[in-house]
């Protein structure tokens, strides 16, 4: 397998003024192989979306490196950089309501990428847009309608068509189904699945629904307060979590089965995710971790592969 996209110590801080900074993403290294689906999970505020956007150049990165097909991507994108990379890397957004321009028709929204990034004629662009609408399960006749005329699930399909019409190699899906009803979530997941198979897509799938991420992804990366705490095969991470935080996360994930839930010997993780403005020294999870040792409050643990767990990477002093 060849690596399609790789980040090395990717860091994104937002400046709040007065010398204060939000440490949204702090030195995150992740390699995504071709045709792989990597699920990125974590609580809100853990920096998942910021990571996705920084990878695509939608945020200027503070430090670190991003390479795509072996080529380093610029730290800050200029107009021509977007022109160059947009056909290869795209994003599907969480909120199908606010991510579509209400004043553009669906045809214009879906076709805009082609208009900017190809030399097809207006008519060819329209034909391709119509074809893509069909591909995502809408009608070519919907081209002249506006986003408000569609339901949430349909809008998400429009978002998918818009992102995929340029046939990118890499797509960041930022919580693509969180805003949708259960019955519609499966429609969008199956659609992404079909398109992944036919186009050979590589996906970074950001979500907080562990069951869905486990189901969708090949590998799962767990993020906490701007850093990765565990990375491994999705099933392994879900069924045999190693990092204390991942264990809590899996234990907190409710299963749609009252018998399982009754049997669950459950203790919710105490406390809340600390503010990314004052990141504690040492392990970021130490203040909520029942197994924290003195060392955890001083030294920041690095991701290390566990041989006995098939190369699972865990950032925790318990495994040091």
């Amino acid at each position: 397998m060849t690596v399609l996209l790789e980040t090395e110590n990717l860091t994104k801080h937002f400046d709040l003024g007065h010398g204060r900074q939000v440490h949204a993403v702090d030195g995150l290294s992740l390699a995504i192989e071709e045709r792989e689906i990597v699920g990125l999970v974590g609580e809100s505020g853990s920096g998942k979306s910021t990571f996705g956007k920084t990878v695509l150049g939608l945020h200027e990165r503070t430090a670190g490196r991003v390479s795509f097909q072996g080529e380093d991507l610029p730290a800050s994108y200029r107009q021509q950089d977007f022109r160059r990379y947009a056909p290869h890397m795209q994003m599907i957004f969480q909120d199908p309501y606010s991510s579509l321009n209400p004043r553009m028709t669906v045809g214009e929204i879906v076709g805009e990428g082609l208009k900017l990034h190809s030399d097809l004629s207006g008519r060819e662009v329209r034909e391709r847009s119509a074809e893509w609408l069909q591909r995502v399960g809408l009608e070519p006749a919907h081209m002249s309608r506006y986003p408000h005329e569609f339901s949430g699930g349909q809008r998400q399909r429009i978002g998918v068509a818009r992102a995929l019409i340029l046939e990118p190699e890499f797509v960041v899906c930022d919580e693509p189904i969180s805003a949708l009803d259960v019955s519609v979530q499966a429609q969008v997941i199956n659609l992404l699945d079909d398109l992944k198979a036919s186009l050979g897509l590589t996906l970074l799938f950001i979500a907080h629904d562990l069951s869905m991420v486990r189901y969708v992804s090949d590998r799962m990366a767990v993020m906490y307060l701007g850093a990765l705490v565990e990375v491994g095969k999705a099933n392994d991470v879900f069924f045999d979590p190693q990092h204390p935080y991942t264990r809590f996360l899996v234990a907190a994930n409710p299963e749609p089965d009252p018998r399982t839930e009754r049997r669950r010997a459950f203790s919710a993780i105490q406390g809340e995710i600390p503010s990314p403005i004052n990141v504690p020294p040492g392990c970021r999870f130490a203040n909520r971790c029942p197994q924290a040792m003195p060392q955890c409050r001083e030294q920041t643990p690095q991701l290390i592969p566990l041989q006995e767990k098939g190369g699972r990477e865990v950032a925790c002093h318990l495994f040091g």
Binding site: D181, A186, P254, P258
Partner: protein
């Protein structure tokens, strides 16, 4: 055990520019002390409107309660702000909402907001109410409650705000706590804390909880009974185990198949429910789920299915099963001549065959509104009534 709250045949409409939305179309359920009833369904199915109309929270107009009763300990509270000198809202029934940030007053401290509830409903003086507010914050496991009581909502995180909302909702020791998507806006770990807290509070106070949610995982964790709503109706009802493990209605089965469980493998595709919920401006005749239903039959198009019991309940109850089937059969014969009018569904009588004290209300039993169960219902009836002769 008799029910704390009995809701019967509730119908709610909203007048809009586009016409009349039939949001709730004949909903009945019981809520019992110390138990949790989960009302499950997708956006727009009427689950929130149902509860809001019981609490008098829907704006009238454009809203309109067309029919129904909601008896709290035997007194109808529909449209009544107070019962026996206690306010319904905030006193007898407490409520927490999905978005705690917008449900709290940003210009008042958390402590004052909780105290206000006690001053208003209980006539406590300010110091008394403030002291109780701090106790309540401690009960909901807010650290440094004393200090926190003096802070404003913006100084709280989402999970803390939801705890503060719960503290406020239980301030007057309500008989019923309505939790409308209490954990939807929260992360899984915080969600687990809130669900834990609700369960503990219920064990301590034996209050009833009406849990409104679309998350089947949350339902599985907290609910004793489940009512599945679709297009303004309860399409399946039963104990949590029955609804999850012996799901009767194709919609319930569809919801379950649409989400991955820990056992689903990557190569088993999820089974989405095709299409989208019906337009409630003009609910289709027959079963509202028919256009999306993989098992639809011809009768589903013509006639709205009544509630078919799915399990023979205990021996004291065959009479209600008989009534359901008997009435259905009569209607079957009569239905050829006239189309059913959507406003007063003919099966109204079927759902509540006997309101006398001896027959337990069928709302407690596992039922499904689906024609698929007609033959099963008949079989149950035949078994139950074996000694009493054949059905008419």
């Amino acid at each position: 055990m008799s029910a704390l709250l009995e809701v019967r045949d509730l119908e709610v409409e909203f007048d809009t520019y586009g016409g009349t939305v039939h949001a709730v179309r004949g909903v009945s359920f019981d809520v019992r002390a110390g138990k949790t009833l989960a009302i499950v369904g997708e956006s727009g199915c009427g689950k929130s409107v149902t509860v809001q109309s019981i609490m008098g929270l829907i704006p009238i107009p454009p809203g309109r309660i067309v029919a129904g009763t909601a008896e709290l300990r035997g007194v109808d509270i529909l449209g009544r702000p107070e019962v026996d000198g206690r306010d319904v809202r905030g006193d007898a029934i407490g409520m927490i909402f999905q978005d705690p940030m917008t449900s709290l007053n940003p210009t008042m401290t958390i402590g004052d907001q909780i105290a206000e509830t006690l001053q208003t409903h209980r006539g406590q003086d300010r110091p008394q109410a403030r002291a109780r507010a701090v106790e309540l914050l401690e009960m909901t496991r807010i650290p440094e409650a004393e200090q926190r009581a003096g802070q404003y909502p913006f100084e709280f995180s989402g999970g803390m705000l939801q705890r503060a909302m719960i503290a406020m909702a239980i301030a007057c020791e309500p008989a019923i706590l309505v939790a409308d998507e209490p954990s939807t806006a929260l992360d899984v770990t915080i969600q687990a804390q809130i669900l834990d807290l609700l369960g503990d509070l219920q064990a301590k106070t034996s209050m009833a909880i009406i849990l409104i949610t679309h998350d089947l995982g949350v339902v599985a964790r907290l609910a004793d009974e489940v009512a599945v709503m679709y297009a303004g109706r309860i399409v399946e009802h039963g104990t949590a185990d029955a609804v999850f493990h012996q799901s009767g209605h194709p919609y319930t089965q569809g919801l379950k198949a649409a989400m991955p469980t820990r056992n689903s493998r990557r190569d088993d595709p999820l089974q989405p429910i095709d299409g989208s919920p019906p337009d409630l401006f003009a609910p289709p005749p027959g079963c509202a789920y028919r256009p999306r239903c993989p098992n639809a039959m011809r009768i589903c198009e013509r006639r709205d299915p009544p509630a078919f019991p799915l399990e023979p309940s205990d021996a004291s109850r065959p009479s209600s099963a008989i009534d359901v089937v008997a009435n259905t059969n009569q209607e079957d014969a009569a239905s050829g001549s006239q189309a059913p009018t959507p406003r007063t569904p003919p099966e109204e009588t079927d759902i509540h065959p006997a309101k006398d004290a001896t027959a337990a209300p069928p709302h407690r039993d596992h039922f499904s509104r689906c024609w698929l169960h007609q033959s099963e219902a008949r079989a149950h009836f035949a078994a139950a009534a074996a000694g009493d002769g054949d059905p008419p």
